[in-house]
């Protein structure tokens, strides 16, 4: 047994020994230990240095409210900084390092900050490092970052797995102390679906500290495990309470082993949608501010009790217990029973009936006493009359009272109300379907909490219409009333008295904030960083507020606490991502031809959710080699391209044409069956939204295409108008994007190629902008004569599971003409040559007129965007219009995004380049641009400047249709 390990008691398994390392030194512990309890058992007191002053710090708590005992846990890619050693379940081979010390924990050079402590006050950084501004980045920030801050995050990828699990239940119980267990059991017994979450690895909360309750604890757990619809989740911390009774939590599945099981996740992100919530989250002990209240050896009284009773550890050799309430009496008693010498109980109050029992156990109980200082192994006691006494002690336990853990209740929207008996805030009236129970709402005593939990669990079930029947099970006996607490926030003296140990905030910082005008609790919080550390002010939050209240001359009730926000304890980003990283980051959509593209070496590119072929490189080819080969192939003979990602919407019904007339700027009611037409949609504000084609398949049946990116928004837009603005129209809409694969066959030889494949359709009689039906070996085909490339071209729609058969048949048919499959890059090249629009032009700023298609706008009849597109500013002819550009020096390249100016150095932009490519037809770079007075500028010279590349070149303005402006080829 190690020096401080008791020979018996607690929830640890002494028969098994675990080896671990702290700062490279080897230690031993037992299953059931935390890293903190195992270190305390080994006599380790100094475990870290503080954030700002680098003061030595020890272990202060026994749970996630720990402000000081932070370590870097694990090594290399699994390194986890700022981990609270009080919240780390010990495992074999654990490795931990102290943080924030340089060069070593015992000898820390930065501790000089502590000597200059009266200089580094609240707001110090804001005030001091302001001038000169250029020094901030170069000098101050690196210096501060070296001196301050906590642990170091790893830069290596996380090797572990995470997942998200979404649960639903009737009653969610948070916390498994007496109240939580009773609530879960009663709700489960009346038939509710219950989930009980416990952040700890042991179920029982406060029951774990009282050996007399052990049999009840075990019996409750066994019963709960026997109820079918009750699920118990240990190691699951609920971190946030969100809208409509959604709670979030993290289950630490594999944090208590060196490496998670290969088939198991490290952490599981859980959401809970609960009918009713019972918050049995217990209470946290608060500190008292006095000089030296941060030194190693200071420990919360409840934590000391936990170390003795749960972990079988004596956290010191000689102890003083400083309290203003009854709870610390149990600590003093437990310490005495654990064999500590000369335990002194310093009670701030005048008297207490519990004193006699403690004195019988050898505890020196003194009343009316304050602790005014804690130095090296010496506690200074002070009586109200000013008399003093020094007591030798290496352990100083403090209890300033208990704060109900109201975080989740507060996050749920419930206001907090002041409880004068506790001198703390308790949850007020619920806003969502929740209730607090037990210590979480200020109920003191195990028996009392269990009864309160039973009532809360039953009330929750009743609220859901469950219940009835007599639910009765034995509960621990009530403890009866305790003597009232006497509020004590601070023992005034010179020197540093801390209210926030993790951020090194002292009582004087709070007072300074008030003096400098940051008197609102939220302002004081931000000015001092009080409450902003990872413990979220659980220990000293209320104490800081009390100091502020005193400075303001107001009640603590009036000053209040800062808003409680998630997370109740730190959460790893990896857990929240829940496995949706890398290739699982977003859904991936694949066309029916995806497999063919991969087999033929396509370079795939993500486009929205889709993966699309960019180009199909042959051996030794550069990207440009491939693209230029593909483009030449199309322009000179025939090419084939997978266009399946275009949005396709099926419209049926007697009013389908009317709806289209009202959504597009041009008319579709005039379109003959068997014809298709290019169309442009505006948004209601008059700006171009999307373009595509609409084909009339039958009198009351249309098929429209949208751009790939806007497929979903266009359908939503159409549904909005059909359902909400013109619900009287008889139109049925649905997406057929996935039903039909679409294959573009483009180039002068496309007709002869396709004619070998398509049966039942005379392609020579099939004019430009026609749609017709044909088939291939029994596979139905829809053929559209439309062209994005500017060549004679067709698009063939085929039911998607047959896509590859048809694709390969077309390739075979075109083989004699040297048919080439082409990708997005080539498509883009050709459409820029032709001056067709894409997303770079349809950028949410351009009107139909800006894009050169204003003439399409119908003169009569309403359509979306008609009225507002006529606003003077949108109709201004001086607006940037779509033009073509090319460099005067044909050897120069163009840059997308370059600005167009009248001469280099001019600060006034006349427009910008939207798309650029190397033209196959013209043998030079060409581009599309938006240019003020675009049409009038045709033939003139402007300068394209790209400051990013430090380039400025002369370009000549032209029509956007660089190739075949008369549209001869498509009509061939």
């Amino acid at each position: 047994m190690s020096v401080h390990r008791l020979s018996q008691g607690g929830h640890i398994n002494r028969s098994q020994r675990l080896t671990f390392h702290f700062d490279g030194r080897r230690f031993f512990g037992h299953p059931g230990d935390t890293l903190a309890s195992a270190l305390l058992a080994s006599g380790v007191r100094l475990v870290g240095r503080s954030f700002k002053y680098h003061r030595p710090r020890g272990i202060m708590t026994a749970g996630p409210d720990e402000p000081s005992a932070l370590v870097e846990l694990r090594e290399r890619s699994r390194t986890e900084p700022n981990t609270k050693m009080t919240d780390v379940e010990l495992y074999e081979g654990l490795q931990a390092w102290s943080q924030n010390r340089w060069p070593s924990l015992k000898f820390d050079l930065m501790a000089v900050n502590g000597l200059a402590g009266n200089i580094i006050s609240a707001g110090f950084y804001y005030k001091t490092f302001m001038w000169p501004a250029s020094f901030w980045e170069k000098l101050y920030e690196p210096l501060i970052r070296h001196a301050a801050g906590l642990g170091r995050a790893t830069c290596l990828p996380d090797p572990d797995h995470y997942e998200a699990v979404h649960a639903h239940c009737d009653v969610l119980v948070v916390g498994s102390g007496p109240a939580g267990l009773a609530a879960a059991r009663v709700a489960g017994e009346v038939g509710a679906r219950v989930i009980l979450c416990e952040r700890d690895f042991l179920i029982g909360g406060g029951l774990l500290l009282d050996p007399a309750q052990e049999s009840w604890r075990k019996e409750m757990i066994a019963t709960l495990q026997g109820i079918r619809d009750v699920q118990i989740l240990p190691r699951t911390n609920i971190f946030g309470y969100y809208d409509h009774n959604l709670l979030g939590g993290v289950e630490q599945v594999g944090d208590h082993v060196a490496e998670p099981h290969p088939h198991e996740v490290r952490q599981r992100y859980r959401t809970f949608r609960a009918g009713q919530v019972v918050l049995a989250t217990g209470a946290s002990e608060r500190l008292i501010a006095f000089r030296g209240n941060d030194r190693p050896g200071v420990m919360m009284a409840g934590a000391a009790l936990t170390y003795v009773r749960r972990f079988g550890v004596a956290p010191g050799k000689r102890a003083v217990v400083f309290t203003n309430n009854d709870s610390a009496y149990a600590t003093a008693l437990a310490l005495a029973e654990a064999g500590l010498d000369g335990v002194v109980l310093a009670d701030f109050r005048r008297e207490n009936r519990l004193a006699a029992e403690l004195r019988a156990h050898g505890v020196d109980v003194r009343f009316g006493i304050e602790v005014s200082d804690f130095g090296k192994d010496r506690v200074t006691l002070r009586t109200p009359s000013g008399g003093g006494d020094n007591v030798a002690a290496d352990l100083l336990c403090i209890s300033g009272g208990w704060n109900p853990n109201v975080h989740l209740a507060s996050q749920s929207g419930a206001r907090l109300s002041w409880d004068a008996t506790l001198s703390s805030f308790v949850p007020g009236a619920p806003v969502q379907a929740e209730r607090s129970a037990g210590a979480a709402r200020g109920i003191v005593g195990i028996g009392e909490a269990a009864r309160d939990g039973l009532a809360a669990g039953l009330a929750a079930a009743n609220a859901l219409g469950l219940g009835g029947g007599d639910i009765d099970f034995p509960l621990p006996a009530p403890e009866g009333p305790c003597a009232p607490l006497e509020p004590l926030w601070e023992v005034k003296s010179s020197g540093k008295a801390f209210v926030d140990l993790q951020h090194d905030v002292t009582v004087n910082d709070i007072r300074l904030a008030h003096r400098e005008g940051f008197s609102h609790i939220e302002h004081a919080k931000r000015y001092t960083t009080h409450n902003m550390a990872t413990d979220q002010g659980k220990l000293g939050g209320l104490v800081g507020a009390a100091i502020l209240a005193e400075a303001r001359g107001e009640t603590l009730e009036k000053v209040g606490l800062p808003t409680f926000r998630p997370y109740t304890k730190p959460v790893a980003i990896g857990a929240l991502a829940g496995g949706t990283t890398g290739e699982r980051f977003q859904p991936i959509r694949r066309t029916a031809l995806h497999g063919w593209h991969l087999r033929h070496g396509a370079v795939m590119r993500p486009m929205g959710a889709w993966l699309r072929p960019s180009y199909y490189p042959k051996a030794e080819e550069t990207a440009w080699d491939s693209v230029s080969r593909e483009a030449r192939g199309v322009r000179q003979s025939v090419g084939i391209c997978d266009m399946s990602t275009l949005g396709k919407i099926d419209l049926q019904g007697p009013d389908a044409a009317t709806l289209l007339d009202r959504l597009y700027i041009n008319s579709f009611s005039t379109l003959a069956v068997g014809q298709c037409r290019y169309g442009l949609m505006l948004r209601e504000d008059g700006i171009a939204f999307d373009d595509g084609t609409a084909s009339r398949l039958r009198e009351d049946h249309f098929l429209i295409t949208t751009t790939t990116a806007n497929a979903a928004p266009v359908l939503e837009h159409m549904e909005f108008y059909a359902q909400t603005v013109w619900p009287e129209l008889d139109v049925q809409l649905c997406s057929v994007t996935d039903q039909w694969a679409q294959i573009a066959v483009a180039g002068p030889r496309s007709r002869v190629t396709l004619a070998k494949v398509v049966e039942g359709l005379d392609l020579w009689a099939f004019r430009f902008l026609s749609v017709g039906e044909g088939h291939m070996a029994g596979i139905p085909l829809r053929v559209f004569r439309i062209s994005f490339s500017g060549e004679l071209a067709y698009e063939v729609a085929v039911p998607s599971r047959h896509a590859e058969i048809v694709w390969r048949a077309i390739l075979a048919a075109g083989q004699e003409f040297g048919i080439v499959p082409y990708g997005l890059e080539t498509m883009d090249l050709m459409r820029i040559e032709k001056g067709h629009l894409a997303a770079s032009e349809l950028n949410g700023q351009a009107t139909a007129a800006d894009l050169g298609v204003g003439r399409m706008m119908k003169k009569t009849g309403d359509f979306v965007g008609r009225v507002l597109s006529a606003r003077p500013a949108l109709a201004d002819p001086g607006r940037p219009r779509l033009v073509g550009i090319r460099p005067i020096d044909s050897g120069k390249r163009l840059r997308g995004g370059a600005h167009l100016v009248s001469k280099p150095g001019s600060g006034r932009s006349l427009g910008w380049i939207t798309s650029v490519t190397r033209s196959i037809e013209l043998g030079q770079w060409i581009g599309l641009a938006m240019l003020e007075n675009g049409e009038a500028m045709s033939g003139k010279t402007v300068h394209a400047v790209s400051p990013l590349h430090d380039e400025a070149i002369e370009v000549v303005v032209s029509s956007p249709h660089h190739v075949d402006p008369e549209n001869v080829r498509v009509r061939n």
Binding site: D243, N245, T271, E716, Q723, A870
Partner: protein
């Protein structure tokens, strides 16, 4: 995450919906003029409390649902189909 009571599908999490905004404004008649259209597109109240909003159940029944939501508390009182009227808004 909100739980939106789709009148067709039942209560569904917010991520099945797309938000569009104010459902109290009505698209003016085609001849109502520029100002009316301008107000329809741009002029909005920003109520603190109960508000009527369009939510599109894009991942479900694809209906534009009219949802009465409290902008302060996120409480949702009613949700009706696109062409239906909700009970009168009250503060």
């Amino acid at each position: 995450m909100l739980l939106i009571p789709c009148p067709y599908c039942g209560a569904r999490p917010q991520d099945e919906f797309h938000y569009r905004g104010d459902a109290t404004v009505k698209r003016p008649a085609p001849d109502a003029g520029l100002q009316a259209l301008y107000d329809f597109v741009y002029t909005r109240t920003n109520p603190r409390g109960w508000h009527l909003e369009w939510w599109h159940h894009y991942a479900g029944c694809r209906q534009w649902v009219k949802v009465e939501r409290n902008t302060l508390t996120h409480e949702i009182r009613t949700a009706v189909g696109p062409a239906e009227d909700t009970p009168q808004l009250s503060a």
